[in-house]
């Protein structure tokens, strides 16, 4: 296998025109690498830019109105995708990068049988006979753990359970042997027992195919169980990136600390923390550090100057760690 990352994203900026001549800076300077066999999770609240980042990678955000700014770079095995022709992007989608979204019911076409939809995914990228496509479809449906592949192939999406639909969607995503899988909240709509099965399936496919997985999730517990690395996003930017074990147990950026503090766990009774305020609109990112209005540690430097992502964290506390001890941090909520 080739060394180095399969996907290199550098300074990705995707902006939208907004009412009143404003600009929504939804994705605003995002850089990361993704390597074969690893899972990188993008986490953050709604409006932080995580889904938009994933969709922009394969140009699933309509341009116009969206604009990918000059200087943005998305390299797939060295090939620049920013500015690549639409035809090339269509080839990349599915054949090189597969995707699984939250609600399989809206991603599957309700009027066509599941088998036909998997066949179409294969034939969109490869010239194969109908019979071969059918054979491969059955093999794929079996591979994703559908107990009766022939029956699943004949079914319409509404005849399957949520978990089975998500399996069918995964079959479509991997139909042409992509090297990258984008999974946007793939288990959010599922019950916990089904969620556990789907996460297991994604892990085993990843192992067998050496897939690079970009997981978008708001669920930090799910992320901790499957991701190798985590990128915490806020304000259209990555504010912290690093190994899952360190980002989710000893977060260095206050935003990650606040997110973790707000989640009840299954094993302790510590008071929940609250992050004050809310994510601003992408037209109104604050000056200085974009998190400073919600940050209990912020001082004048944070209001004035925006920190750069250095050594995996975008926070002035990294330079002045003593400041952390000067306040009590996020307020507690009593439950």
């Amino acid at each position: 296998m080739t060394a180095g990352p399969i996907l290199r994203v550098r300074d990705l900026r995707v902006h939208f025109p907004a009412p009143g001549g404003q600009t929504a800076r939804a994705v605003d300077g995002v850089s990361f690498d993704l390597s074969a066999g690893e899972t990188l999770a993008l986490v953050g609240e709604s409006g932080c830019g995580k889904s938009m980042t994933a969709l922009s990678l394969v140009r699933l955000v309509a341009e116009p109105p969206a604009v990918t700014l000059a200087g943005s770079s998305i390299r797939l095995r060295g090939e620049e995708l920013v500015g690549a022709p639409a035809r090339r992007l269509r080839e990349v989608r599915g054949a090189e990068i597969g995707f699984v979204f939250q609600e399989p019911m809206t991603s599957l076409d309700p009027v066509h049988r599941v088998g036909r939809q998997v066949e179409e995914a294969i034939r969109a990228h490869e010239t194969v006979s109908r019979a071969e496509a059918t054979g491969r479809t059955l093999a794929l449906l079996e591979r994703v753990g559908l107990p009766d592949p022939a029956r699943a192939a004949r079914a319409y999406p509404h005849q399957l359970s949520g978990g089975m639909r998500q399996r069918a969607l995964i079959a479509i995503a991997i139909a042409c042997g992509p090297s990258i899988l984008l999974a946007d909240e793939p288990t959010t709509a599922l019950d916990v027992t089904v969620q556990a099965q789907i996460l297991d399936l994604l892990s085993s496919l990843q192992r067998e195919e050496n897939l690079a997985v970009l997981l978008i999730s708001h669920d930090l517990a799910v992320v901790s169980s499957v991701a190798d690395r985590v990128a915490v996003m806020y304000g259209g930017r990555i504010v912290e990136i690093g190994p899952t074990a360190s980002v989710l147990t000893a977060p260095r950026h206050p935003y990650g600390e606040g997110l973790l503090g707000a989640v009840p766990t299954m094993y302790d009774d510590r008071a929940l923390k609250m992050i004050p305020g809310r994510v601003p609109a992408a037209t109104d990112w604050p000056s200085g550090c974009r998190f400073h209005p919600r940050c209990p540690y912020a001082w004048d430097r944070c209001r004035r100057d925006e920190p750069r992502l250095a050594d995996g964290v975008r926070c002035w506390l990294a330079e002045e760690p003593g400041r952390r001890g000067e306040t009590t941090g996020f307020a507690e909520v009593s439950t």
Partner: protein, 253 residues
Amino acid sequence: MTALAAVGVTKRYGDLTAVDEVSIEIRPEETVALVGESGSGKSTLGRLLVGLEPPDGGAVTYAGAPIRGLKGPARRTFRRAVQIIFQDPYASLNPRLTVGSAIREVLAVHEIAAGNAAAAKVSALLDRVGLDEGAARRYPHEFSGGQRQRIGIARALAVEPRILVADEPVSALDVSVQARILGLLSELRRDMGLGILFISHDLAVVRRMADRVAVMRAGRVVEVGPSKQVYANPGDPYTRALLAAVPTLPKAT
């Protein structure tokens, strides 16, 4: 005893028995959680308990009296005493009514307050749920998800209920907002003695909120008991499977 109770209630939709001879009781000042996966019947049970639908068998009782036979003042008392909030409060708010009008409407229907008294009550309710007074003049679409849930709660509180059925009240919210709504519900229970039926699929949230937990599967309650006991020592195999499936965060260092 002003408890809300289901006594052997059954609800069928065609061939499907959504709720199958379930008994459960919610008293003021306690939080009872109803957990289970989709299709387990937990939301249907919630709707039966507030009288949105009649059961096909068994009875829902309030303060010991079956709600089906309630008439006149007794029926109005029940209507005020038991309120429900949903996952998506937007769906239950009229988009053309300001928040203040929506709450005043409830106050008028239940003959609680009118005119200046109603305006004062609206301000007090909004303040109670952590919204500023100006919220009364705005429309539902002007609010975030968390603020809409606060509006839903304010409207439910307008009739001074004793029991609140909360059906997945924080499932659609980001975690930082979720924590604040959970804090608000706990406060209401503490300060106003509200009893809460907390319907949720999120076992970590339930562990934090509930005094007692009832686990539902396929329309039946398979296990009920004090939260601490159910989580530490689940008696039913299904409860064990559910708890085992919950992904957990690593412990902070």
